[in-house]
Symmetry: C2
Subunit: 150 residues, 2 copies
DNA sequence: GGGATATGGTCTCGGATGTAGACCACCTAT
DNA sequence: ATAGGTGGTCTACATCCGAGACCATATCCC
């Protein structure tokens, strides 16, 4: 198999490299020794949460300050009540978001980030930063691709 | 009752704060001036890609070296051919992944990261690192939640 | 020659998942 | 009395996803 770049597969700083290597060590490196795959990694569980459309948005919306249900829905914009409820439950179950009920006349419910939830903000900000940076290039790539392959 | 921390909503370094603020400035800050919501933000487009279950995993799998279709499927583990094809197309369209066909007897197809795709690796590594760190705490939170609320 | 196997996909079907919107019990303001 | 806001739940309907069949080709093995 030529077409491999033996010593230098991808340019990436050592820290990130180590993190990713450790993560995919579940796949048996590249020799294909044991064909387990990434799906057995415990980190996958956490990543799958992040990987659902709404969690990230909700976390970001809560990063400013605690918010109530309706305010949250308005801020995210195009999320249905059902999915907001469901996502918040999951986030609460995972300990990223705290739910507090105030026994006012119509009970108010306030959602806020826990310490754990706040700890997710820097990595999320990293991702958002990258997205902002890459956005133009991605849009250009899409146009090129669509033009070529109609 | 102590539930609001007026001047200090969330402890977060200035860079990350700025990134998130900029992102959610589409929601009109916190005054609720114009109720646009996050959905109008161009970054949402990019974030939605990240927010699908497989893209992240594929990018990580490719971070080691270029891979062929079947190898990729084996590495990710529980992805169907259909979704792998579809995700790879999207990634290719977005300019994160390059597809190269070798006209061998049964044509081999190799997928690799583009420079843009590689630029996504550090933020992804940040996320994976967080996931690894938070994993234990999250699992504990889940157990607590499930125990409390059946 | 006739399987068996591998390649990279596509296609179809049935079930899971998401969305829109009605509905609810309660309260306030008009 | 009526309208609207609170936090949700419930029910249709639409969309999406995963499993697996299928394809054209070529190679290996007997």
């Amino acid at each position: 198999m030529t077409r491999e770049r033996p010593g230098n597969p991808v340019v990436l700083d050592a820290t990130a490299r180590a993190v990713l290597d450790r993560f995919s060590s579940f796949a048996g490196g590249d020799g294909g020794s044991d064909e387990g795959g990434l799906q057995n990694c415990p980190v996958r569980n956490v990543l799958d949460r992040v990987g659902d459309k709404w969690s990230l948005l909700i976390l970001i919306a809560l990063s400013h300050q605690p918010r109530r249900f309706a305010a949250l829905q308005r801020e995210v914009g195009d999320i249905s009540k059902r999915m907001l409820t469901q996502s918040l439950r999951t986030l609460e179950r995972d300990g990223l978001v705290a739910r507090q009920v105030f026994p006012t006349k119509p009970p108010a419910v306030e959602y806020s980030l826990t310490a754990l939830g706040e700890s997710a903000l820097p990595p999320i900000a990293g991702l958002v930063g990258w997205a902002a940076m890459a956005h133009d290039e991605i849009r250009a790539a899409r146009q090129g691709f669509d033009a070529a392959a109609g």
